[in-house]
Amino acid sequence: MRRLINLKPDRGASFLLGALPFVLLLLVYLVASGARLAENPNDKLLPAFSSFAAAIQRMAFEPDARSGQYLLWADTAASLTRLGLGLGIATLAGLVFGILIGVLPYVRAVFAPLVAVLSLIPPMAILPILFITFGLDELSKVMLIVIGVAPFLIRDLSARVLEMPGELVIKAQTLGASTWQIIVRVVLPQMLPRLIDSVRLSLGPAWLFLISAEAIAATNGLGYRIFLVRRYLAMDVILPYVAWITLLAFLIDFLLRLLNARCFPWLARNAR
C-alpha cells in the first residue's frame, strides 16, 4: 500500500468525485422536500423543483404586473452595474495608490498608515454614514463596495510591489530608466496580473457589500428582491436567485482568470 499522499485520482475520477457532493446535496434536498410536501402540500420551506421552474418562469420570462419589467433581468442589470462600478473604481484606486505607495518612499510615508487604518474600519459600520452623505441612491451602494474593497487592494498591491526583487529596479536604473519609465515598463506590467488576482479574491466581499446595501435601501437589485420576497417566505424565488448570484460570481471569476491567462502569457511560460 502506497502512502495516501501518493494516491492520485485520474481526470475522470476527479470529475466524478467532484460531482459527488453536489449530487448528494441534491438528493438530500429532494428527499427532504418530498417528505415535507407529502405532509403539507402548501409547505413553503423546501419547494419542489416544479415550483422553482414556475418561479423562474414568472421572474425571468413574464413582465411584472406592476412595473412591466422582467424582474430577474432588471435586478441583474441593476446589481451588476453597481458591482461593476464599485469594483472598477476600487481596482483603479488599488492600481494607482498601490503602485505609488510601493514605488515611492515619500508617498508610502504619507499614505501607508492611513490606508492601514482605513482598511480596519468595518465597511458595514459606516454604511449609515454613506446613506447620510451620499443619499439612498446608487452612489452610496457603489461607495460601500469601493470603501470595502479598495483598502485591501491598495495594501495588497503595494506589498506585492515591495516584494519585487530590488535587483530589478536597480537594473532598470543602470539601463537609464527614469522613475516614470520604471513604473510603466517594469512595475506596472508585472503588477497587473497580481492586481487581477486580488480583484478575484475581493469578489466575495464585494458581493457581500452589494447585497447588504441593496437589502437595506434599494428599489431593485438581486439583494433587494431576495429580502423583499423573504416576507412571503418565497423560497421558490430566493433559492433560484441565490443560485443565479453564485453563477454570476463564478462567471466573473472565470472571466478574470481567462483575462490573466490571455493578457500575460509570460506568467504561464515562466512557470513551466
Binding site: 535587483e167 537594473k171 543602470t174 537609464g176 516614470w180 519609465q181 509570460w266
Partner: protein, 257 residues
C-alpha cells in the same frame, strides 16, 4: 575612458565599520576581481560603486567626476539572480535599455523607430549567443542563458564600468567555463572597466587582470565591528598578455597626452 579613483573610502553602519581607508586607482579597461571571505565588505564596495549606497567618508571618482549618488547607465550591473525582467522576452529585455534612452515618455518604441532599434539589440544578442532564443521568456532559459541575457541587456547601453556581483555563483562548472570565455571576449572587445565580486579565488585569477583581496587587517575580539576591512592584497597579474597590452596602451596615451 573609464578610470576609477578611490580616495580614503570608509563605510560604517552605526558603530559597525565595514570598510576603512580604501585607496585604489584603477586605470581604464582594467578587469578587477574582488575576492575575500564572506562579510568582508566586497559586496558593500560594489554597491557603493553602483550608487545603491553612499560612502560614509571619502570619494569615488569616475574619469575625474564624482560618482552620482544613484545607479545610472554609465555603470552596468549583473547580479547573481533577478537580473532580467521576467515579463519581457529576450529581445524585449535587450531592447529595453534602448527604449529607455530613446522614448522618455513611454519607455517603449513603436513602428519604424522600433524597427530601427531592433537590429542593434539583435547584434548584442548575437554576441552573447542567444540568437535562437530571442522570443523566449527568461523563465524558459537555463541559468547560464539568463546570465548571458543579463550581460547582453547591460552591454546594449555601452556602460563605462561593468559591475558583476557573483555572476556565475549559481551556475554549474561546465557553464561557468563557457561564461568565462564570453565575459573575457566581451571585455576585450568593449574595453570597459570591470569589477567582479567572487568568492571563487580561481575564478578571480582566471578572469581578471588584477585581483583585489579584501580582509580585516585589525581585529578587536571585544568589539568585532570596531575595525573594517581593507584591500590587503592588490595583485596586478602582469604575466597576462591582456594586462601588458593594457599598460602599454596607457603608457602610449600618457606620452601622447
Amino acid at each position: 575612458m573609464s578610470a576609477v579613483e578611490i580616495r580614503n573610502l570608509w563605510k560604517e553602519y552605526g558603530d559597525q565599520v565595514v570598510l576603512e581607508r580604501i585607496n585604489l586607482s584603477v586605470p581604464s579597461g582594467e578587469f578587477c576581481a574582488l575576492i575575500g571571505p564572506s562579510g568582508c565588505g566586497k559586496t558593500t564596495f560594489l554597491r557603493m560603486m553602483l550608487g545603491m549606497e553612499q560612502p560614509t567618508r571619502g570619494t569615488v571618482t569616475l574619469d575625474g567626476a564624482p560618482l552620482p549618488k544613484e545607479p545610472g547607465p554609465d555603470r552596468g550591473v549583473v547580479f547573481q539572480r533577478y537580473s532580467v525582467f521576467p515579463h519581457l522576452t529576450v529581445l524585449e529585455n535587450v531592447l529595453l535599455g534602448l527604449e529607455f534612452e530613446r522614448s522618455p515618455l513611454l519607455g517603449k518604441l513603436f513602428g519604424a523607430r522600433r524597427r530601427a532599434s531592433v537590429p542593434e539589440a539583435n547584434a548584442v544578442i548575437e554576441e552573447v549567443g542567444l540568437r535562437d532564443s530571442v522570443d523566449k521568456y527568461p523563465g524558459e532559459l537555463s541559468g547560464g542563458m539568463q546570465q548571458r541575457l543579463a550581460i547582453a541587456q547591460t552591454l546594449v547601453r555601452r556602460p563605462k564600468v561593468l559591475l558583476l556581483d557573483e555572476p556565475f555563483g549559481a551556475l554549474d562548472a561546465g557553464t561557468k567555463v563557457q561564461m568565462y570565455e564570453l565575459v573575457r571576449r566581451l571585455w576585450r572587445e568593449n574595453g570597459m572597466t570591470v569589477f567582479m565580486v567572487t568568492h571563487d579565488v580561481k575564478e578571480g585569477f582566471a578572469l581578471a587582470t588584477r585581483v583585489l583581496a579584501f580582509d580585516k587587517v585589525r581585529r578587536d575580539p571585544q568589539a568585532p565591528g570596531a575595525y573594517g576591512a581593507n584591500i590587503t592584497y592588490d595583485l596586478p597579474l602582469n604575466a597576462k598578455a591582456e594586462r601588458r597590452d593594457l599598460m602599454e596602451r596607457l603608457r602610449v596615451k600618457s606620452e601622447a597626452g
